[in-house]
């Protein structure tokens, strides 16, 4: 941690394209480029500060992951962008207009986090629900396209209350994209999906991105953030890191050292230069280090006999811990 982690890792691309001054003074000029903008947004639940002067801009066609532990403000951010919550101060702009207007104009689709229940009306066929929602939009995608894309064909004649959690989630995803919206919000989209369903899901999302849709998704799964072009890490209602996914990973200097050592003494390993975390399983040792070179030199100096040394880059998970100073939230949604 000695070098400190930059709050902002390089300028986000759209900001280098559009000077901030210009966007503040003449919003019309950048409408074509910007999908959404948060300026100094504050939101409180009672006396709990959920969004603490949050600033965020997303370019059209961008795929953004909003990452953060539970309670960090991800869902509040989503709710404000969807026009469900109104911030106390600051301004929010979605597709050049207000969140509510963008929603009413049928330019936004969303998949909300499901607290309980299927998110679908009971006692109706899946096909009827998806088709009804599709027709609420002005320029919807053809029903067959949505059905084929989300793979809900076999579910169309099923009753909504006879779906598994994963199936209901696929239907809700179909509902989110049925209207062919320019901007798609997904809050913890894969919570109830199995591995295969997730793979398919992310393939569809990347396809949407290629077609020019702007996609914003919130997640606390680090591996899912890697599907995005850009990652914004939110903690305690503020953006604590913002940059291209690769940059974010590279910015974190944590390295993982694995080796085999007979009778390694944890108390010795713990004192090694740069080490933040020690894990010993039998003869296998895993160290997390902020300075891998120094740690290895220290290992040699302290006469720890080791073999099969392997040094790997940190996963986004470690990057996340380093950036927020928090442990990733336990996965309570499964």
């Amino acid at each position: 941690m000695s070098s400190g982690f930059p709050a902002r890792i390089g300028p986000p691309r759209h900001l280098s394209e559009v000077p901030r001054e210009a966007s503040a003074g003449d919003p019309g000029a950048v409408d074509g480029l910007r999908a959404l903008r948060f300026a100094d947004v504050v939101y409180r639940y009672g006396d709990k500060l959920a969004l603490d002067h949050l600033n965020l801009e997303v370019a059209r066609g961008e795929m953004l992951a909003v990452l953060g532990p539970n309670g960090a403000g991800k869902s509040t951010t989503m709710a404000v962008l969807l026009g469900l919550l109104h911030p106390r101060s600051g301004s929010v702009e979605v597709l050049g207009t207000s969140p509510r207007q963008a929603m009413a104009d049928g330019r936004v689709g969303a998949m909300l986090q499901q607290v309980s229940g299927s998110g679908l009306p009971p006692g109706v066929r899946v096909g009827a629900v998806v088709n009804m929602v599709r027709r609420l939009y002005r320029r919807p995608a053809p029903l067959e396209v949505t059905v084929e894309r989300t793979g809900i064909g076999p579910l169309l004649n099923r009753q909504t209350n006879r779906l598994s959690g994963g199936e209901a989630q696929r239907v809700r995803f179909a509902i989110a994209i049925a209207g062919n919206p320019e901007l798609v919000f997904l809050d913890e989209p894969t919570a109830a999906m199995d591995v295969e369903a997730r793979r398919v899901f992310w393939r569809i999302i990347r396809q949407l991105g290629r077609e020019g849709h702007t996609v914003v998704f919130a997640t606390h799964h680090m591996d899912e953030a890697e599907h995005a072009d850009r990652v914004v890490v939110i903690n305690r209602g503020r953006v604590v890191a913002d940059g291209p996914t690769a940059t974010l990973k590279a910015a974190v200097t944590t390295r993982r050292l694995r080796f085999v050592a007979e009778g390694a003494d944890v108390s010795v390993l713990d004192k090694l230069v740069g080490v933040t975390d020690v894990e010993v399983r039998g003869t296998g040792v895993v160290l997390n280090s902020l300075d891998a070179d120094a740690t290895v030199r220290d290992l040699v100096r302290r006469n720890v006999t080791f073999c099969d040394l392997e040094v790997t880059g940190a996963r986004l998970e470690e990057a996340f811990v380093a950036l927020t100073g928090d442990e990733p939230a336990p996965e309570e949604t499964r």
Binding site: A50, S75, M78, S118, G119, P121, R135, L136, G179, D187
Partner: protein, 250 residues
Amino acid sequence: MSSLSAFGRFELARLLRSWKFLAVTVGFPVIFYMLFLNDRTPGKVVGGTVAWRVYLMVSMCSFGALVAGLNAGGTRLSGERATGWARQLRVTPLPAWSYVATKVTASMLVILPVLIVVEVVGAAFGGVRLGVATWVELTLLMWVAALPFAVLGVFVGFMVHPETAYPVITVLMFVLGYFGGLFTPVSHMPPFLQTAAQVLPSFNHASLGLALLDGSGLSAGHWLVLAAYAAALGVIIIWRHRVEESRGLA
């Protein structure tokens, strides 16, 4: 407009598919009419100037409208709110007001056939005889005046959890029914209950029907109470719909 009709058709199709619900809704007032008809002499004048058979038919129209409104709105709505469907709809282009308006309209569409069935039973088994014009007038009057019942059902659906919806609806049905004088004329009750009845929508709804038949004229007071219920509950529903669907997103 096309979005409105898409949702309207969807809701109507759902409602028509639930035959069990419709049967129960129509069954209640019809069974009560048959049960209570011979409690008193059907031809005896009660609570003013109409015969018991007529009084009970008008009362059961009110009761049927109340039951239909509470069931169409209450039970079904609280169920679909619990699954998160109402919240999902908030993130589509469907305006909040049209969601509520469609629910109220659907309830009104259920209330109309209930009124007609009760009237048919009143004519066929109770021996109620009215002119064609009066039947039509009575039906339309009772239907238009039933708006607060439709709104009340939607209100309950918004305020109550599905587990408690059924008991709440049952209590409302019988409290509003009994104290509104739908089973026993209010004039047979203690004075303080007679006063209390004046502010109940059930009493005012039935009173309009009875006033039409005994020729005493439709009092503005009854309309005022009914309109006040519809307006007040409607405002709370819209407020609740806007605020509530954003909860649980923290």
